[in-house]
């Protein structure tokens, strides 16, 4: 299975939740809080749903409560993709 990367996250978030005006998703965002990127918890849920459909990775939704940055989301996804 392909390993999901920050670039995949950029593409998926933009596809399913759009991109906030004034936010540069192409910048160094791996440790930027989703809220600062313009993504609320529903946007994160929407992206996780898309990842489940595209990559077959399903994560415990309760664990998402602790996910606030792209890095922590990637770590969670990698933990569940084993």
């Amino acid at each position: 299975m392909a390993t999901i990367t920050i670039d995949d996250l950029r593409r998926i978030f933009e596809d399913v939740a759009g991109a906030d005006e004034g936010v540069n998703l192409d910048g160094d965002i791996i440790d930027t809080e989703f809220a600062e990127l313009g993504y609320d918890s529903i946007a994160v849920l929407e992206a996780v749903g898309q990842i489940r459909r595209d990559y077959g990775i399903s994560v415990d939704e309760d664990a998402l409560a602790e996910v606030h940055t792209p890095r922590s989301l990637l770590e969670l996804l990698h933990a569940y993709s084993g």
Partner: protein, 424 residues
Amino acid sequence: MTAPVVTGPVVTRPVVTGPVVTGIGIAAPTGLGTEEHWRATLAGRPSIRRITRFDPAPYPSQLAGEVTGFEPADHLPSRLIPQTDHMTRLALVAAAEALADAEVANGDMPEFDMGVVTAASAGGFEFGQNELEKLWSKGSHHVSAYQSFAWFYAVNTGQISIRHGMRGPSGVVVSDQSGGLDAIAHARRHLRKGTKLVVTGGVDGSICPWGWLGQLASNRLSTSQDLDQAYLPFDTRACGHVAGEGGALLIVEDGEAAAERGARKLYGQISGYAATFDPKPGTGREPALRRAILGALADAGAGPDEVDVVFADAAGLPRLDHEEATAINAVFGPGGVPVTAPKTMTGRLYAGAASLDVATALLAIRDQVIPPTINVSPDPRLALDLVTGEPRSASLRTALVLARGYGGFNSALVVQAVNGQRTK
């Protein structure tokens, strides 16, 4: 109180107490934007056509008033597009237009001083249908997380509130076609309790197969395929209505608060309102519309002779048209007041209809002209002075807007010019 500081041209007006309309935003089949709508309405331009939002061939009713040429990405940030139904997108565009018209920008006023009250009928049905189709055909993991609110009937209020930073008292009313007036009345209650500004009205629409089935169940939709004869209120050929989408949102402010911030446009004041509920069918008791009209006039402190024009509900079914004409004639006398139904151009917009009529009435007062009712040859037995064919110049200070909702709702709202000019 110190005099307000006004930038730009200084307009001397008496400060109005009570609610005033300081901004208008319109998304309607007649046009996207207030002036486009108004030009088309004065021109009597029909916008009912065969449905394009889905294939209507299998359905008995195939015409609608659609908002055409609307590209969401041209008007809204990409963050809002995946999470909104078509009618919410239209509402967001109308709200932004209304706020710009009132010259209120995000952050200009404290967020808890501004509220949002909209009317709705179905909610975001097209969005909801798409997600339910995914649920049935692919499973729950294919349903968008945005379904949690995108199909909810309160969604327009929520999205406008979030986008424009309005955290004051807010809500939604659901009373079919009456809702557009009931929302404005509810906004007025919030102003009385101290809220400074409310975005109010309705933008509606569920022209999708799921929404269509619900509307067909009312048995009130016209099955005519003839664009000019499908919706003929107050005509002997009346055969039901055509549905449409869109509506209008208004910026309603307390008159003193509007003066204090130097609001430059005062379209009019919301002077009176009443709502009644029809008696149980079959009891033989009088329908309650007449009482709604009298209640709204009493609330406005206006007599019937002060009303210069009536914007009719115009159900388009013989029994309902007769009820409405009877109520109007009982208050104003047969042919005693000009009556118009510009919704003959757009179809009935459900929760969006009556606030669009209020917006149109305010524009009529601004320009001293009554927009026409199109296609209709008035049934002489109804004894209405229906303004047909061409717009009619008139001295307009006071307009009465009527709306009746499926299930027995009646609402009446009086709007009046602010400047007190009346030459009649």
